[in-house]
Subunit: 265 residues, 3 copies
Amino acid sequence: MISPGSTLRTIRERKPLVHQITNYVVMNETANATLALGALPVMAHAAEEVEEMIGLASSLVINIGTLSSAWVDSMLIAGQAATERAIPIVLDPVGAGATRYRTDTARRILDYVDITVLRGNAGEVATLVGAEAEVRGVESMATGVAPAELSLVAGTQLGVVASVTGPVDHVSDGERVLVVSNGHPLLAAVTGTGCISSALTGCFLAAKPDEPLEAAAEALAAFGVAAEDAAAGSEGPGTFHARLYDALAALDPDTLDGRARIETL
Amino acid sequence: MISPGSTLRTIRERKPLVHQITNYVVMNETANATLALGALPVMAHAAEEVEEMIGLASSLVINIGTLSSAWVDSMLIAGQAATERAIPIVLDPVGAGATRYRTDTARRILDYVDITVLRGNAGEVATLVGAEAEVRGVESMATGVAPAELSLVAGTQLGVVASVTGPVDHVSDGERVLVVSNGHPLLAAVTGTGCISSALTGCFLAAKPDEPLEAAAEALAAFGVAAEDAAAGSEGPGTFHARLYDALAALDPDTLDGRARIETL
Amino acid sequence: MISPGSTLRTIRERKPLVHQITNYVVMNETANATLALGALPVMAHAAEEVEEMIGLASSLVINIGTLSSAWVDSMLIAGQAATERAIPIVLDPVGAGATRYRTDTARRILDYVDITVLRGNAGEVATLVGAEAEVRGVESMATGVAPAELSLVAGTQLGVVASVTGPVDHVSDGERVLVVSNGHPLLAAVTGTGCISSALTGCFLAAKPDEPLEAAAEALAAFGVAAEDAAAGSEGPGTFHARLYDALAALDPDTLDGRARIETL
């Protein structure tokens, strides 16, 4: 059942620990978004501790935004530990399609780890299903396939919930497609908002691990509603960015379901 | 003598360099807090340069929030160089108690380095004195000992000034306990505010190296007063966070002593 | 021809990819400044991918603010790849003069890479031309040579455009000296504003690669105008910092030339 408000209420009651192995650019931002929503973030990447940290966590978020070999090793160790414990795992394949190293690493993680939700932009996800894509750095410029179909194909082919974000988001488990149309154009003017959406997906999965399709769509709707609130009164990307955490903290479980624009395609 | 206003005045006159080897999540934040207060931050972690950088610094802050083996090596090298030069050193044992790697690393640093002030939350400090503690990621959930006693025991057992922060802070050198009751609940909604309090402790120690108990309490009072100012007019954790630097920069040495709530237990 | 407004218009039309290998402290900040201006940032430092990423980029920014040996290796690989492709390269020698490791690394990069613009504070640039300088951490405290002369000497001696920033900026190719007097004192109260000016220099170079002297001065003028706008209405360094991105995004190409204070010495 789709109810971002109920899931948000669960997050705030349980305060699940969301283990994030992410990139240097957005660590502060995803930690703050996790806290503002009501969950607890932890950033830990040392091979010496990732397995033990997974033992405390309710979900894992892997983000390859500033990857290097030692970090990729830790992502695989943590991912396998989470797989063994059946903890839900989000993969954010930042920049897949821009370099072979990013594409190959994302594929390697998909092979060795039981990814629950793949959250990326259209270019990144298209790359991973072998479709035509242009990725400039970490931005999706163009793809050869429409986003709804892309999410469906990725869901089937990769055996994940594919969460393809953009002006309108498409989330699919390979059978159903949920379309999320909350959000605001200012999100594209701040770095790491994609990464934040992956972190929040980890929070929603932690509270609703048995319905990953719904949890992934709910996370995007909640983030989109917060962005709508933050944009009102912002004077540009900087004040919008600060107000985004205010808005996440102020999200009201009682009105969230009514404001969420999630439709089944 | 306790006078956060006088120490703040000294910081702003001398602009001491505070060398910080800290975690990826909060580097920008602790650097900005250091600057806003009136000191100079420098982040340097390469084994090739930490000793030389210590030669320029008036204090060292070691924070294990995103530790890995190469970084721990540098923390030990820098810590020993600072010990030899009798420069005051703050240790922030982020996440001690959550994983053995964090607990063991914090203990190793305490063994090999002459730590002046140990600044942590109750769960982290309780872990390091062998008391019962629950640490979820980097959050203290519960401890088997009250914070005032904890600070006293830690001060005695570890031979440091123990600065145990929480809704009310307790700072002890193993003989006296200072209780600091400035602050605001929004501090708990922003990641890295504990790390910022450690960085500011480094600033106050740099200006008052011979009275570490007083300096540690003064730092927490000053930060707490700034948080009180920042909270007024904030709409949530994001705008509070931005306003925190405004408030640190606006701290008035002339009124700070009157606003600081520091009591001897 | 000097026209920051025209160059800004080009940046926003072409959205060039600016590859940045920079320090942990400011990655989020320089990425956001790049985006706010209208270009696309990418942070990538793995030896496995820097050459391929350079193939997508229109300029490269190398910043040694939190250097270590693996990162320096990647800076050299990326720098040589950019040199081969004749892509403009900015070097920000953060902390040169504070430790031998920083000074030597900056010199090594200058030797092996065809640096287009060296953007630093007076102490860093003076160190690199062998003049007297005091650098405390990453702050320039004093130099034995006036900034206009320093930029001229550095331009000649190092074969670069030397962009020496301070209360007034001096940019020289060893023949001409451009003086930029936009800006605001609050820039000195926020960490990483020097690094941001280097990133923006990379953006302007990407759009105007054949006139690096003009591009470097235009970048500083544009950033200075944004700082002037951000300061109006700020209550301190924290809100100023957030508003800086608003102001960069709001920069108006039509009025920028009239507001830029760039003079030939």
